[in-house]
Subunit: 235 residues, 2 copies
């Protein structure tokens, strides 16, 4: 079975967005434009654009066009309230451990597939601040197979997800979370600058991607006293 025509158009546009050819805030070609370029009818063009909408890449505006979105905002992920999405906020990140080849860690709270375990693992960890206050430590693991050169790469605008999208065309397609309230151990207490035993929010995340058997495993530890974790979901 050959590829659906709407998928051809959808993937063509998606690639151009990932490459930055269509920048965030700019408009895609109109439906009629796509009809001409690809020799398709509006139904098919609209289906392609509907799929990109569903995936969170664009928003359709009646009378104007299809505008390219900052995708992270549409993904329904848990976020430190007023953290990365806040404009003008004094947020920053430091690496505790730059990306390096490493081992799958038993700290990971999800089941790692055999296919992943057989591959080598890449690890990095970060400490994230609002102003001068540390609010979250973050530990990440993933199979290195698809990330040639990743350890020598700078993150695009400090964003791991943007880097995956731009350089590797890897997109997040879903995530599973587990949430726990815990007491901070000595290590976390020092990093987050709180007393040992303070309550912290432990979030285990498994990010699924468009690549089979390539998932990203993250363990997050948050001081929610002043910056709670937020999440929004709308039909």
């Amino acid at each position: 079975m050959e590829e659906r025509r709407y998928r051809t158009v959808q993937n063509f546009l998606k690639l151009r967005i990932q490459q930055g050819y269509y920048e965030v805030g700019s408009y895609l070609p109109s439906e009629n434009g796509l009809c001409s370029s690809f020799s398709i009818t509006r139904t098919t063009a609209r289906k392609a654009l509907a799929e990109l909408t569903r995936e969170g890449f664009i928003e359709r505006k009646h009378g104007k066009g299809s505008i390219v979105l900052e995708r992270r905002k549409t993904l329904g992920l848990l976020n430190v309230k007023g953290f990365s999405e806040a404009v003008g906020k004094d947020v920053s990140t430091v690496f505790l451990q730059n990306p390096v080849p490493g081992n799958w860690d038993p700290k990971i709270n999800f089941t790692i597939s055999d296919a992943e375990l057989k591959k080598s693992c890449v690890h990095f960890s970060r400490l994230r601040f609002v102003g001068s206050e540390p609010v979250m430590t973050e530990y990440n693991w993933m199979a290195g197979e698809y990330l040639k050169g990743f350890c020598d790469l700078d993150f695009i605008e400090g964003s791991f997800f943007k880097t995956l999208s731009r350089h590797y065309h890897i997109e997040i397609t879903g995530s599973d979370h587990e949430l726990r309230a815990e007491n901070a151990d000595e290590n976390k207490a020092i990093l987050l600058d709180i007393p040992i035993g303070s309550p912290i929010l432990h979030i285990s995340v498994k990010f699924l991607t468009n690549i089979n058997n390539f998932n990203i495993y993250s363990e997050l530890y948050c001081n929610t006293k002043y910056y709670p974790i937020g999440n929004s979901y709308h039909i």
Copy 2:
């Protein structure tokens, strides 16, 4: 502007689902059936069914039909892992406070609109168990205006959301969450049968509905030691 034809069909089917006329697990009329019944073309019938799919009421199965879903599973809400969705699990709920007229509580972590504040408030609270272990206390507030007779009602299968849907055709259309790790105060410690000061997960929720200015505000306190909170999101 008159109502779109696909919306007519969509709302017709939605009402029948809410009323239980089409039960969970059963099939809606086929596309061609809807075309005949409503004198529309397949494009329009498919649009109606696509909307119901997006809203989480049905799932479309190639070669079979449109099957009615248990909607809560598709809503992307935070759940106690292995709690309400687990089959055969020994889960139960007791009311700490049956639904009663009450006052808007300052404990609510979200901003309540003036329109809501002007209305009377209905409150209830529950304690939820897995086996004999209490894992979550739950406090709920909402404007009573649309809930005539609610305080005298039994919940359908113990579910607040099912009751809202069946009796009042009120559906959840979204939710905002705020998550905090806290220490249990004496009251929560007793209810959850844990030492005072134990870390607990405090979840503040604002549920949005299909009715303007009718939101449900919930404050949840969870012992996540053995039953973490889970959440799944997939494109």
